[in-house]
């Protein structure tokens, strides 16, 4: 029997019981809609985290100063105080695959400008820092190597500093004071938003690391070093070379712990996306349960339909329908129900994901793959739950079926 004729027959049978078909399909609509919306929410969260991770920069390897211990007393991270500017320069000079390096010192200070004051993070960095972090300036210019060498009193500031200290003004060329030392504002950073940890990345003043160490904090050691490798492929080898180099420079013999920690961007990304991935899987799993419940609804209705139409099956068999013709007829009915439900469910799912974004402000991302998967899954639900009733129909005895009242 031709598929088109069977399909027409199935559609007619479904149209005959509009209310019933609609309610049955509703089970699948809700199931598929829930899967699409839930996975959309999960993926949205994941992509948000991924953007935040991308905001770390590109192919970044972070080297943190490690802890130090002396007769049982252990300092916290950075307490070792063994990482120096020379270490950073050595990394830039000696490690293959490294394209730029920015030594970093971090401090917190009260800053002043035009009668306003604000407590913020002071970052001492090298001139390549913004390139490493892929962080463009909105206005003005970055300080240069010359500023680093000359421990110049210049800074670039984040968006939050602008709103707090220079509301409604162009701060470029103005002066702010860190520990009473005047620093000239060279540029304003474009807003970057929250970090993976949830801190405001725009609440920052960046100055040359030499100026930070000599003028502001009077420190001699670095907190960390930002390293950029040429490509993600280099990440591992770069991390290893840096470790070897630093152990050698810090004269750490065999059996002594590192006095530094190295983190690749990928590790940070993996840790951050793991949670959202689990959330996506969990949401998807919960939604799948409703899809299965919808499938059971289809099975139920198909069984009722087979019983109701026993006589019809008998007539068809008497005039020459084979078992598989009957099987196909009922199977196609079930698949039509479930895939129609699937298509509507996809539309509803995308709609509710959009609605959630609009109302709750949650980021949602409905991927093509999840749509295709949901559709195939709904069709598979039709095959799976429609097969048993269809098979039951196809195995009826024509004599009994004809006599069925």
């Amino acid at each position: 029997m031709r598929i088109t004729a069977t399909l027409r027959m199935a559609l007619r049978a479904l149209r005959r019981n509009k209310m019933r078909s609609t309610l049955t399909a509703l089970g699948i609509i809700i199931g598929v809609g829930a899967v699409i919306a839930m996975v959309g929410i999960g993926n949205g969260a994941k992509s948000q985290v991924e953007t935040q991770i991308a905001s770390l920069g590109q192919n970044v390897v972070l080297v943190f100063a490690g802890n130090w211990s002396s007769s049982g007393v252990r300092s916290g991270w950075g307490g070792a105080g063994t990482m120096t500017v020379d270490d950073a320069l050595a990394i830039a000079r000696e490690v293959p695959g490294v394209i730029s390096v920015s030594p970093e010192v971090r401090d917190h200070q009260q800053i002043l400008a035009e009668g306003q004051n604000w407590y913020t993070t002071i970052l001492g960095e090298g001139p390549d820092y913004l390139d490493i972090r892929q962080w463009p300036l909105q206005d003005g210019a970055m300080f240069t190597d010359q500023d680093v060498r000359g421990t110049t009193k210049v800074c670039i500031i984040g968006k939050t500093i602008v709103t707090q200290l220079f509301p409604g003004e162009n701060p470029v060329g103005k002066t702010l004071r860190i520990r009473d030392i005047p620093f000239k504002v060279l540029g304003v950073l474009s807003p970057k938003g929250l970090s993976v940890m949830g801190t405001d990345q725009d609440d920052v003043v960046i100055i040359p690391y030499t100026s930070e160490m000599k003028r502001v904090s009077k420190r001699t050691n670095l907190g960390s070093i930002n390293v950029q490798s040429a490509s993600p492929d280099f990440s591992d080898s770069v991390q290893k070379s840096i470790a070897d180099l630093l152990r050698q420079r810090h004269r750490l013999g065999q059996g002594r712990d590192d006095d530094f920690t190295i983190r690749g961007q990928q590790e940070i990304a993996d840790a951050a996306t793991a949670t959202t991935r689990i959330m996506t899987v969990l949401l998807g799993a919960i939604a799948s349960v409703s899809l299965i419940v919808g499938g059971i609804g289809i099975m139920n209705i198909m069984l009722v339909s087979v019983t109701e139409r026993t006589r019809e099956i008998g007539i068809r068999m008497a005039v020459g329908a084979h078992g598989r013709d009957i099987l196909l007829q009922f199977l196609i009915e079930a698949i039509t129900l479930s895939s129609l439900g699937g298509v509507i469910g996809i539309a509803m799912g995308i709609g509710s994901a959009k609605l959630l974004s609009a109302i709750a402000g949650w980021p949602t991302l409905v991927s093509v793959s999840s749509v295709v998967l949901a559709f195939l899954f709904s069709a598979a639900v039709g095959v799976f739950f429609g097969y048993y009733p269809a098979q039951k129909a196809s195995r009826l005895d024509p004599i009994d079926a004809l006599r069925y009242e």
Binding site: R2, R16, A318, G320, H322, G323, L402
Partner: protein, 253 residues
């Protein structure tokens, strides 16, 4: 004349529970092409079982059955379905039309399951032709619930004819009809038989059997009587008589 239906020592035993029911106990019967046979008997005589076997809906437990020269006694479900589709046309007591399906589509139904399918246009043509034979071409678009009992049975006959079967089988075709409509339907069968179609019919009504050419009477699973019909009723004559009787009733009232 060649035998279209040839039963040789056919038995049918049903194993239900502890007792075996011997529904048919050795029937040998030949029906030639162009015959019009009524199989008669009381309920429990085995005539329905015979009908199911002749209709290839059931297989004999013993003996063989040749339909149109082919031994069909050992075919499987699907092969029997194909035989039913090609060689047999069915007319049932309860009409058994698909509801909410037009007369035309009901008649097209057997062609949906034919091995070498015709195009939709040719199917339609055949179906309309079959409806013309039973005089219902003008009702092709009607649904069964819009047709009278007699018309429904004529649609069923058209459905039975549409694949040009070797035999048209009718199971109590007038059981659900009043006298007048029964005679009309028998008239259709007589006309078809005159055109050369072999018809086998099961009935328990003597006056209906009188429209056929040969009566086979069964009792307890055996053929006990097999005689040609001597004073055959002719549907047109009977109809006229019915009308006259009705007139008489009207006049006297």
């Amino acid at each position: 004349m060649t035998a279209v239906i040839k039963l040789e020592n056919v038995h049918k035993t049903y194993h239900t529970g502890e007792v075996d029911v011997l529904a048919v106990r050795g029937v040998t019967l030949e029906i030639a092409s162009g015959e019009f046979v009524a199989i008669m008997g009381a309920s429990g005589s085995g005539k329905s079982t015979m009908m199911n076997i002749i209709g290839c809906l059931d297989r004999p437990t013993e003996g063989s059955y040749f339909l149109d020269g082919v031994d069909v006694s050992h075919l499987d479900r699907d092969e029997l379905a194909a035989i039913r589709n090609k060689k047999l046309g069915f007319v049932f007591q309860g009409f058994n039309l698909l509801s909410r399906t037009s007369a035309l589509e009901n008649v097209e139904l057997p062609m949906l399951y034919t091995h070498d399918r015709l195009s939709s246009a040719v199917q339609r043509e055949h179906a309309i032709h079959a409806l013309q034979i039973v005089g219902l071409a003008d009702r092709a678009d009607h649904y069964p619930n819009q047709l009278s009992g007699g018309q429904q049975q004529r649609v069923a006959i058209a459905r039975g004819l549409v694949n040009h079967p070797a035999v048209l089988l009718a199971d109590e075709p007038t059981g659900n009809l009043d006298t007048r409509t029964s005679v009309e339907v028998m008239g259709v069968f007589q006309k078809l038989n005159e055109a050369g179609i072999t018809i086998v019919m099961v009935t328990h009504e003597l006056d209906i059997a009188a429209f056929t050419k040969r009566n086979v009477i069964m009792r307890d699973g055996l053929v006990v009587n097999d005689t040609p019909v001597e004073r055959r009723s002719v549907a047109e004559v009977e109809l006229r008589r019915l009308e006259q009787a009705q007139q008489a009733v009207k006049l006297s009232a």
